[in-house]
């Protein structure tokens, strides 16, 4: 039953998404791959769309996956599921369990959980970059993609040294799209 799968899948994402917008991406990647809803390429493409459209990326991805699997009802179910845990947790914290978060045991769990999320996000980013540069088959380096990756990373991180804030994510996406066309051709 696809509706139930969407609901449970995105409930998990919503419940474990610590660490801001990008903290949720490894989780979403886990869920969409384990159910076979999206591959890495389609997911990357949707992250770029989510970055270029308003709203939290997590919500954008839930809406997209829900729609692609089960139309409007699917989109509604996935989006509700992804928002529900944070909604409920905040209400609980406000209404009765304000002390929960100051509880030393809860704090101890969070002290381990948060740095773990950072490591997971770092590995996801690194893996996506490496996988793109290796092409589809293992052990073969895709020279064009590697050249683009070096160029983009150089411009993105270099721009931050030049002026405050550096290139915005949307500017990087636009730049990478033009590079993609420049390297692979118009048609």
């Amino acid at each position: 039953m696809i509706y139930l799968e969407l609901f449970i899948g995105f409930l998990k994402v919503g419940l474990f998404s610590f660490g801001g917008a990008y903290g949720a991406i490894p989780l979403i990647r886990d869920v969409v791959r384990s159910y076979g809803w999206l591959g890495d390429d389609a997911l990357s493409c949707m992250i770029a769309v989510g970055e270029s459209t308003p709203g939290p990326i997590m919500v954008n991805l839930a809406t997209y996956v829900g729609r692609s699997q089960a139309g409007l009802p699917g989109a509604l179910i996935a989006t509700t599921a992804v928002v529900l845990p944070s909604f409920v947790v905040i209400l609980l914290v406000m209404i009765l369990l304000r002390k929960w978060l100051e509880n030393p045991y809860a704090q101890a769990v969070l002290r381990g959980l948060k740095p773990c999320v950072i490591g997971i996000v770092l590995a996801t980013g690194a893996y996506l970059i490496v996988r793109n540069c290796m092409g589809t088959s293992c052990g073969k380096v895709d020279v064009t993609a590697t050249a683009m990756a070096v160029l983009l990373a150089g411009i993105y991180f270099g721009s931050r040294k030049r002026w405050k804030g550096g290139l915005s994510p949307i500017a990087l996406i636009v730049l990478s799209a033009s590079l993609g066309i420049a390297f692979y051709g118009w048609r």
Partner: protein
């Protein structure tokens, strides 16, 4: 009623507080790109400075709570402010308000996207975009490391999680990252308990 909606800068006298919550957060949801911390500035300007729904201190408080609870910070803020103003109904109005714009936009965009990707130059541009997305995710993690306390335990957990996740990715092992997170949480909790039992009189509370 329509006229009042269009002349938005008015204090919206007589407008239902639920409608006002909904519209305020819908506006925030519509005009923040990239999500996350970009939204906090907008929420602060709207809810603290212009509407005075919550104080600056409360805003700082929400940010701290959001760090320890799951979900995008924007949604946490919307739920908090909505509940503060009008209880459960307010929380629902504000949360639906902040989610609805991106829901509608993505819904529309994704109905075009599938056919769109079959055009050659679009597919080629996405070959570039895929790499940019990897860089953005990597950069987000680097920024998080920058803000994290530089102590041996968190650094070791981050390093361990990085290695474990890399291995999981490379060998396509079916272990969810949720498992890693739970393991790290349990590890930290047991270290805390072990320390506490070693000096029982040293309990802080």
């Amino acid at each position: 009623m329509r006229g009042a909606l269009l002349r938005r800068p008015l204090p919206l006298v007589g407008m239902n507080i639920l409608t006002e919550l909904f519209l305020t957060f819908a506006e925030i949801g519509l005009f923040t790109f990239g999500g996350g911390y970009a939204m906090i500035a907008l929420i602060e300007r709207s809810c603290v400075e212009s509407k005075r729904w919550i104080s600056h201190d409360e805003m700082m408080d929400i940010t701290a709570i959001a760090e320890s609870t799951p979900g995008p910070i924007a949604i946490n803020c919307a739920t908090y402010v909505g509940y503060k103003r009008k209880g459960l109904a307010g929380a629902v109005a504000a949360t639906v308000g902040i989610v609805l714009p991106s829901f509608c936009i993505i819904f529309l965009v994704s109905s075009f996207l599938d056919n769109f990707l079959e055009i050659a130059w679009v597919a080629h541009s996405f070959a570039g975009i895929k790499i940019a997305v990897g860089i953005l995710i990597f950069d987000a993690a680097v920024k998080m490391i920058g803000k994290m306390p530089k102590k041996p335990f968190p650094l070791a957990v981050t390093g361990g999680a990085f290695c474990a996740m890399m291995l999981i990715n490379i060998f396509a092992v079916r272990i969810s990252s949720i498992m890693l997170m739970l393991a790290a949480g349990m590890l930290s909790l047991s270290i805390f308990l072990a320390k506490r039992s070693r000096r029982p009189e040293g309990g802080e509370r």
